[in-house]
Symmetry: C2
Subunit: 326 residues, 2 copies
């Protein structure tokens, strides 16, 4: 057995797995909230703990792992082993030596990758894009991230490719959390959708969104809250999700008009939660904008679900690791 660890470091949660890369099974998994305080040291401690819990569940000693991969947001310098400019992580404005620190604490080689890239690669290797040579991954959650596999290799451009959430769908349109105007994420990102919902409520709109949020003991509108509100036929939720789907349709269709790929994989918190019926609504919303409309790409929901990021991270340290054409 070739055992590898994978950690998906997110702004709200840390997900770790231990995987048998020969057999392909996930042998153990664990999840913890990402510390909001205590700076980068607290975050790294939480990474160690979460991986240890996953190893424990798998009844495996951490030092028997052949390597651990970490998928991270922000600016990942894989060669230097650092993560910086990660606005959603405390203490990660300047580059933090995650690989070295983690490796020292775990006693295992640690490899870093970009969170969206590794999740896209996992869907390409093992998930919804197994049969494709090229695909676009769209991770619809707090923001909207994108990953590209072109002719069997991850595409990073000069290192910053995949920012599909910041493709313009309406020049001069809504303000995006990034500060720019008219980005796809300004309509479809969960953070932007929540801001819009709060503004609408201030203007007198009625909605069960915040009631459901409180019932669930949350202070932000997570994917589950949106799903529950739609089930309860909440008008505001329906309008905001429709608006998000239209923006996703326009932005993804633009990407396809440029690249003409065969498969689009929809993942992320909202994408995974809403599943294939929503992937089909997105495909429908793309149709009016597709130039080659007689041959649309297939739009599929991510097959690896919530674990995709951690599985993709574990692939970073497997010998057949993501090839790259940077």
């Amino acid at each position: 057995m070739a055992l590898h660890g994978g950690i998906d470091l997110g702004g709200t949660k840390i997900q770790a797995i231990v995987r048998d890369s020969d057999g392909g099974q996930v042998l153990g998994e664990a999840r913890n909230p990402t510390p909001a305080e205590g700076g980068s040291r607290a975050v790294i401690t939480a990474l160690v703990q979460t991986l240890r819990q996953a190893a424990e569940q798998a009844s495996i000693a951490v030092d028997s792992l052949q390597g651990v991969g970490v998928g991270s947001p922000g600016e990942v310098d894989a060669a230097a082993g650092t993560v910086g400019k990660a606005g959603n992580l405390p203490g990660f404005d300047e580059p933090v030596p995650v690989a070295a620190t983690l490796s020292e604490q775990l006693g295992v080689v640690v490899t870093l990758g970009n969170d969206v890239d590794v999740a896209t690669w996992a869907e390409f290797e093992l998930g919804a894009g197994r049969d494709a040579r090229s695909l676009l991954g769209v991770f619809w959650g707090t923001g909207v991230g994108g990953g590209l596999v072109l002719d069997g290799a991850s595409w990073h451009g000069r290192g910053g490719a995949g920012e599909i959430g910041h493709m313009v769908v309406r020049r001069g349109g809504a303000r995006c959390p990034c500060g720019r105007r008219g980005c796809m994420e300004a309509y479809a990102g969960r953070r932007a959708m929540e801001s819009k919902a709060r503004r609408e409520v201030e203007k007198g709109a009625e909605t069960v969104l915040f009631e459901i949020m409180r019932e669930r003991g949350r202070d932000t509108l997570g994917s589950g809250v949106w799903a529950r509100a739609l089930e309860r036929r909440d008008g505001l939720s329906k309008r905001l999700i429709d608006r998000a789907v239209k923006a996703l349709g326009a932005g993804i269709a633009s990407a396809i008009n440029l690249l003409d790929l065969e498969v689009v994989v929809i993942g992320g918190g909202l994408g995974t939660r809403f599943g294939q019926p929503m992937a089909e609504r997105i495909a429908e919303a793309m149709r009016p904008h597709l130039f080659n409309d007689e041959r649309p790409p297939e739009v599929r929901v991510a097959a690896l679900g919530d674990l995709g990021g951690a599985i993709g991270a574990s692939l970073l340290c497997v010998p057949s690791e993501p090839s790259t054409n940077v």
Copy 2:
């Protein structure tokens, strides 16, 4: 000397060259209007004549050419040697066997390619992108075409990539000549700009555009007409060009956010006419939309100008022909 012919087949003109592929010089060139009548037979006759004129100028017998490449609009099937679905060419709705017919009449092997792809490849091999590994070509003319070179290879996706003109810059926005709404070309394509100018004049706007058009004996607003009107500080022209530049800025920035390429080459009738100062205005219009705004791509005007398409076509039959990752 390895002599090759190249023909750029456009909706309004046919440009042919004869080139010494070893030394790199263009030895002869000729240009004729594309026949508007007489169907595909008249177009093919004009291709033959234009190439013969270029060969004559070069004092070369056509049958001493080692091959002739043709860059064409529409749906080019290089393997079958056919061109179809070319709305701007008379008689090219159904596939026309251009390669076989032309080859028979010229006595030389003929290879077909997509017009925008070959022009992009020419800029990559010999022009403004010589120093780049990857680039985006934007051909700003009647429509707005796009071509991609990714890590040294032409990118075609499933054969229909590069439709940057139909990336959405304003969902629900202006009607595009393609029938869709909000495409970049709906604001920046010369055909769309002319329609808009005519509508503005009907509504009472004043402009010298149509006066200049008549002075030059034209019945459409060519690139030269727009350039002259700007020189004469025509208000409507300025507004419509500003609007086009903003759309180009948003659309090209979207493409860069997705792919993070190092170089953008601006060609086409308007791009070539307006030159580097306009390329810099486009770069400026991209800036508010670029996610990695501390590291914008270089935006350069096409170096091969009007001959880029024909030079690129001639490269189709040179042994080191455009590699492809379809």
